[in-house]
């Protein structure tokens, strides 16, 4: 299981990495923005991507659209403060797999991920 975390906050990346580690997932790559994420995505295979929305250089929505042009199937979960219905609809139209509002608990992250990937026990 290989996961790509995309968030401009190092604090949030660490929180997510620790959640994944608690689930037994240790193969985790991190990107600070959409540009870096796309570069990493093109050079490695991932099972799932966890992406923030508001980031400098390339935001999560643009990243999502870029990823969907390259891979229609990889699960992308948006983890964001963008909780308004219009934003969620925009993300769904762009091909997001699931949506998680910050702050979140490890249990909710696990539940969202399990809809898309098999988490090793």
């Amino acid at each position: 299981m290989k996961v790509l975390i995309v968030d401009d906050s190092g604090t949030m990346r660490t929180i997510q990495r620790r959640c994944l580690n608690m689930l037994g997932i240790t193969e985790v790559a991190e990107a600070e923005d959409g540009v870096q994420a796309l570069d990493i995505f093109e050079r490695a295979n991932f099972d799932i991507i966890l992406s923030d929305w508001n980031m400098p250089n390339m935001d999560g929505l643009t990243l999502l659209k870029e990823i969907r042009q390259r891979d229609a199937n990889i699960p992308v979960i948006m983890i964001t403060t963008e909780a308004e219905r219009a934003r969620v609809v925009t993300a769904i139209q762009a091909g997001v797999s699931d949506y998680l509002i910050k702050p979140f608990t490890p249990d909710v992250l696990k539940e969202k991920m399990e809809r898309w990937v098999t988490i090793p026990s």
Partner: protein
């Protein structure tokens, strides 16, 4: 008070409850403590209450600023509560933690004000003592003061119509 300033004050007042609710729920969920509101007042000067400011600009059908104002010790405790890292002084990790906490508070606030169709900026952190936060002249900011297990803090909010 002019009509424009009155409209600004009403918009700013409309933000108070969403800010209070978002602050309480984010502090409880992320830091494990419940902040208590200790005061609320119209802001007459440009100096924030404490030495660290995390500032987020808001645009949409309204424009404005929401700023979290913190003591250095409170900021350091935020990093500790989020990641278990004990910083000796204000550093990049502390600033990032404070910025992300503020981002989540402001994001939760704007979600409760959906009709204004707001977008928020990436947080900026100011760490110098005696700094000033300037709002547009027609904006009358409000300062909401809190106390908590990790120390006192304040949130400044100032909004004006963008229509």
């Amino acid at each position: 008070m002019s009509t424009v300033t009155r409209q600004s004050s009403e918009l700013t007042s409309d933000c108070v409850n969403p800010v209070l609710n978002a602050t309480k729920s984010v502090f409880e969920a992320m830091l494990g403590c419940t902040p208590v509101r200790t005061g609320i007042a119209l802001k007459e000067d440009t100096q924030p209450r404490y030495e660290i400011s995390a500032v987020i600009g808001v645009t949409g059908r309204a424009v404005g600023t929401i700023a979290l104002s913190l003591k250095a010790s409170t900021s350091i405790e935020i990093l500790y509560r989020l990641l278990g890292i004990r910083a000796e002084e204000i550093n990049a990790e502390v600033c990032d933690a404070v910025g992300e906490l503020t981002n989540i508070i402001v994001g939760s606030t704007k979600a409760k004000m959906e009709e204004l169709q707001l977008s928020i900026s990436i947080p900026s952190i100011i760490t110098s003592k005696g700094h000033n936060l300037h709002y547009p002249s027609k904006v009358q900011p409000i300062c909401i003061e809190f106390d908590s297990e990790i120390g006192p803090f304040a949130i400044e909010v100032g909004f004006a119509s963008n229509e």
